[in-house]
């Protein structure tokens, strides 16, 4: 029985453990922040949008931790390839949720603007005097950006070591949380100055950032789920490491098309005879019955050395 959790350098295992710890801390702080914000949530659309965004940011850390558990599970009869790609699926789901809710928030913000609804923000009796809730909401927003921004910057560093797209995207969202906080505060300060539209405008701005995060995540996870060439951490450019693998293998095999893809945090390369991209009908017929057309590819893993660079041997088929 093969081990599904591949060997990794100690430094990578270390980084994974630190990432898990930071994600647990993120979850803890987000729950505290969501509770504190819920306490003072009032009529401001911008504040409620920022609050929703914080709720949505629970998804990525949760999915990261679930993925860490899932990807270590051994392969089985039902899942012969194991669960390395659980993270990509989770990433797609989180991005889809972000897109959907970002869209709803955008719609609500626009509607508030169009209907010219004036946000009403009341007051609380604290120590015998009336305190306008807007000030408390601003205090909550200031508090709400501090833990995510600190955690976000720490997670970014680890994500670079791990080449982990889920962790990177999550860290970037956290690190950019101050922008959401600032927009929320601007909305409430707008209300304080009697500018009712400022609040809805900021809500629209925040919802646009949620929507953007969602759409970017969908594009990245779609590339991974469709076996696209591995991309760099923070862009759509093909990862130079992956291109090196292709170049190296091309220099060792002739008439070969090299395919490299990413399953979870690992690269997988495939050497395919160029003239015969698929197995012949006869071969397929030999081991399959009626539906032999469905069997198009059989691969053997390289385990015992390759030709020297430039030697250009034909792949054994």
């Amino acid at each position: 029985m093969t081990r599904m959790d591949p060997n990794r350098p100690e430094s990578v295992d270390d980084a994974l453990r630190r990432a898990e710890r930071l994600e647990w801390q993120t979850l803890f702080w987000l729950v505290v922040i969501i509770a504190v914000m819920g306490l003072v949530a009032g009529g401001s659309q911008a504040f409620r949008t920022a609050w929703m965004e914080d709720m949505l940011s629970l998804l990525a850390p949760s999915f990261f931790l679930i993925t860490r558990w899932a990807e270590r599970r051994p392969h089985s009869r039902g899942f012969p390839y194991g669960f390395h790609r659980a993270g990509s699926l989770a990433f797609f789901l989180a991005a889809a949720a972000l897109t959907a809710i970002g869209g709803v928030l955008l719609y609500e913000g626009c509607l508030t603007l169009i209907r010219a609804e004036h946000p009403t923000v009341g007051s609380w009796t604290i120590l015998g005097r009336e305190v306008w809730l807007g000030w408390l909401m601003i205090a909550a927003l200031v508090f709400s950006v501090i833990p995510p921004v600190i955690l976000g910057h720490r997670k970014k560093k680890i994500a670079k070591v791990l080449h982990d797209k889920v962790l990177w995207t999550d860290a970037e969202t956290n690190a950019a949380d101050w922008q959401t906080g600032l927009a929320g505060i601007a909305g409430i300060v707008g209300i304080a100055f009697g500018l009712w539209w400022a609040d809805a405008a900021m809500a629209v701005l925040i919802s646009l950032s949620v929507l953007k995060d969602g759409l970017t995540g969908m594009v990245i996870s779609t590339i991974v789920l469709l076996d696209g060439a591995p991309r760099k951490l923070a862009s759509m450019d093909i990862d130079p490491e992956a291109e090196r693998i292709v170049a190296e293998l091309e220099s060792r095999y002739e008439n070969a098309r090299i395919q490299v893809r990413e399953t979870g945090r690992y690269f997988r390369a495939n050497i395919e005879p160029e003239e015969e991209p698929h197995i012949t009908d006869e071969l397929a017929d030999e081991i399959m019955g009626n539906d032999s057309w469905r069997l198009i590819d059989v691969s053997v893993g390289v385990r015992s050395g390759w030709p020297a660079p430039g030697e250009k041997r034909r792949p054994k088929t």
Partner: protein
């Protein structure tokens, strides 16, 4: 530590209030103070009505405002409030179904909580209502 935070909070709020924040988008507080308070008082049992009227008169006096009292059916009064013809309508039951207005903090006995309705978004005026009208309400 807590005392310092408390002091800071009180000073902060005082400073902000001194700047006249929050402000009303439609300037309700500005035209009521030293001007006229257009208030809607729903028709009801005589004793309750008179108590609320006196309460409103005291509130208007505290703002040096003349009280322009309208009475009638709650729905109509709330509609006038939404159109900006009134500044204040109440007292209404806390579970009031109206959605397009702002509401004061609730007051009164547990089984009969009351609120005042103000125009949506008139936050300075609402703060004043909470400060002077709600907190001086006969319990």
């Amino acid at each position: 530590m807590f005392a310092a935070a408390r002091l800071l909070c009180i000073l902060g709020c005082a400073a902000l209030a001194a700047c006249g924040l929050p402000k009303d988008p439609n300037g309700t507080l500005d035209h009521v103070r030293g001007g006229v308070l257009h208030a809607g008082l729903p028709a009801g049992p005589e004793q309750e009505f008179e108590q609320a009227r006196d309460h409103l008169a005291d509130f208007a006096a505290s703002l040096n405002a003349e009280l322009d009292l309208h009475t009638g059916e709650t729905h109509r009064l709330v509609e006038e409030l939404e159109r900006g013809e009134l500044d204040l309508v109440g007292p209404l039951p806390k579970s009031t179904p109206f959605k397009k207005t702002g509401f004061s903090n609730p007051y009164g006995p547990k089984d009969a909580r009351r609120v005042w309705a103000v125009r949506a978004g008139e936050n300075a005026f609402l703060l004043t209502v909470n400060e002077r009208l709600v907190r001086s309400a006969p319990q």
